[in-house]
């Protein structure tokens, strides 16, 4: 099992969610986050004075998936969240030791 963590542009969230359900991902967790990468921040204007916004708003999406579909999920997120412009985000993949469904006590793949 793998944990897929993706940081994407907020306006792409709906598309990614839809695409992931289509390939059988059962659940995702979404957090509004702020950060910077190569895109850095940008400047805004208030009453004639410019100011730098260092951290840009992004959406962090987490999905626990089985080994069989992990490549499909990565490809799906990478394709759907892509705009070709700087700031599209990143996908992190990490091993997932155990998953437990709290209601039933199921573990492993059947808990996904």
């Amino acid at each position: 099992m793998k944990l897929i963590t993706a940081v994407i542009k907020p306006f792409k969230l709906d598309d990614v969610r839809e695409a992931l359900s289509e390939i059988g991902v059962q659940g995702i967790t979404v957090t509004e986050v702020k950060g910077f990468g190569r895109q850095k921040g940008h400047t805004e204007l208030y009453r004639g004075a410019e100011y730098v916004v260092d951290f840009l708003p992004k959406v962090k999406l987490e999905a626990a998936v089985s080994d069989e579909i992990v490549d499909q999920v990565i490809e799906c997120v990478a394709k759907t969240a892509n705009t070709g412009k700087i700031g599209d985000g990143k996908i992190f993949v990490s091993d997932l030791e155990q998953v437990i469904r709290i209601r039933t006590g199921e573990t492993g793949n059947s808990a996904l």
Partner: protein
């Protein structure tokens, strides 16, 4: 029959005065929302506390001694509770112009209308010193401002009194219809004195000469505040006609409403375009300041200009306010809401525009009047602020400023659920 018409005229003009006074009272809500919107969220509770408290203090101080200083009469409004119907009817009958003569209305309605102007002048101060001034030092200043400083200059202008026995502004051709100078510039002068002794908010100006933006927390609230002020201004200017009960007065009131609205519109458009040309973006806060600048600019004389002139006067205010805000920033005079520019710079502009449409008013009279108001209010305020600074301090500590005046002064946050998650 005649007496019945006099009774009606008295009733109508009193009622009109009261309704306009209530509209001006509502401007306190406008100031509160505008200021709360343009400060950071950590200073919201404190600025709201200031706005409500200063309104209450203004009303009380004006009742205690302010009204008596400004218009004569007794302290604590003694004697205002009674009306002698027969003598009022005699006053009516004695007027030379009959029904079109000077307005006669309840003295209590006059106090009610005047008292809300004091609060307006004081509200102007709170925005300029926002986010860093001690609450209690501010309220102590409010007592002096609304009890002495404003009533004294009000006496020299609307009260018709002489300036320490030296000269009388009315004789010099000075006129300020609803208070561009007497209310707005006076408030801004007191604010300027406070800001000079208080200093800028931490982080506003960099040591290398940079000017940093400190964006306001809630622009919908600031916008609502501006619209409330715009609406309240109809009472502010409209009520200052002082009479509704005959054809020419009623028409004058209508023209004042119309011109007040036109000037606000002109100011808003001009400020929007000016900001777009200077910054490349449509700055909402400048647009809001522009509408208010137009209103302040027309306040000194809203009855004689044509609608087109009123729009243009407002537009001049709208352009001027943007440049004034930028200039004050370059001088490192930190005014979070632009109150000094809106009410001070455009208040002066309003006074100087009067002779263009009102032949009875002289340019030199306006200049002397403006100077008298400024020197008196600015000078007296500077002394009061300085005393407060020496006695109790006027600025919260650097750490308190970082944490926010809400916690430091009021012990509560405006949005506790939002910040605590």
């Amino acid at each position: 029959m005649e007496n019945q018409i006099f009774q009606l005229q008295y009733a109508m003009d009193t009622f009109y005065f009261l309704v306009c006074g209530a509209l001006v009272m509502w401007m306190a809500a406008g100031f509160a929302m505008l200021e709360a919107g343009l400060v950071r969220s950590k200073n919201t509770t404190e600025i709201l506390t200031k706005n409500v408290a200063l309104f209450a203090i203004s009303c009380s101080m004006y009742m205690i001694c302010g009204y008596a200083l400004m218009y004569g009469g007794e302290v604590f409004l003694s004697g205002m509770g009674e009306v002698d119907t027969a003598s009022v009817l005699n006053d009516f009958a004695g007027r030379e112009d009959g029904f079109e003569g000077g307005s006669i209305y309840s003295g209590a309605s006059d106090f009610f209308f005047q008292v809300v102007f004091v609060a307006t002048a004081m509200s102007i101060v709170s925005g300029a010193v926002a986010e860093r001034m001690k609450l209690w030092a501010f309220l102590a200043f409010a007592v002096v401002m609304t009890g002495v400083i404003y009533p004294m200059e009000g006496n020299w202008t609307w009260g018709g009194g002489s300036v320490f026995g030296m000269y009388t502004l009315g004789d010099l051709g000075f006129s300020d219809f609803a208070g561009s100078g007497i209310v707005h510039m006076a408030g801004a002068s007191a604010a300027l004195a406070g800001v000079l002794l208080l200093g800028a908010r931490k982080g506003k100006y960099g040591s290398n000469g940079s000017i940093n933006a400190i964006p306001g927390a809630n622009l919908p609230m600031a916008t609502l505040g501006t619209f409330i002020l715009w609406m309240g201004w109809f009472g502010f200017n409209g009520g200052s006609v002082l009479k509704l009960g005959d054809i020419s007065s009623a028409h004058s009131v209508a023209m004042v409403f119309l011109n007040t609205n036109a000037a606000a519109a002109g100011g808003a458009i001009a400020a929007l375009i000016t900001a777009r040309m200077l910054f490349g973006k449509a700055d909402l806060t400048m647009l809001l300041n522009g509408a208010l600048a137009g209103l302040v600019a027309i306040t000194a004389e809203p009855s004689t200009p044509t609608a087109l002139q009123a729009t243009l006067f407002g537009a001049i205010g709208g352009v001027l306010v943007v440049f004034s805000i930028i200039t004050l920033d370059k001088l490192r005079i930190d005014d979070p809401v632009g109150a000094i520019s809106v009410h001070g710079t455009c208040g002066l502009l309003g006074l100087l525009l009067v002779p263009i449409t009102n032949g009875d008013v002289s340019f030199s009279g306006q200049l002397i009047g403006a100077l008298t108001i400024f020197v008196w209010v600015f000078g007296f305020s500077l002394v009061v602020w300085a005393i407060l600074k020496a006695v109790m301090g006027i600025r919260i500590t650097e750490e308190e400023e970082y944490e926010g005046a809400d916690i430091a002064e009021c012990g509560m946050e405006a949005y506790p659920e939002f910040t605590k998650g």
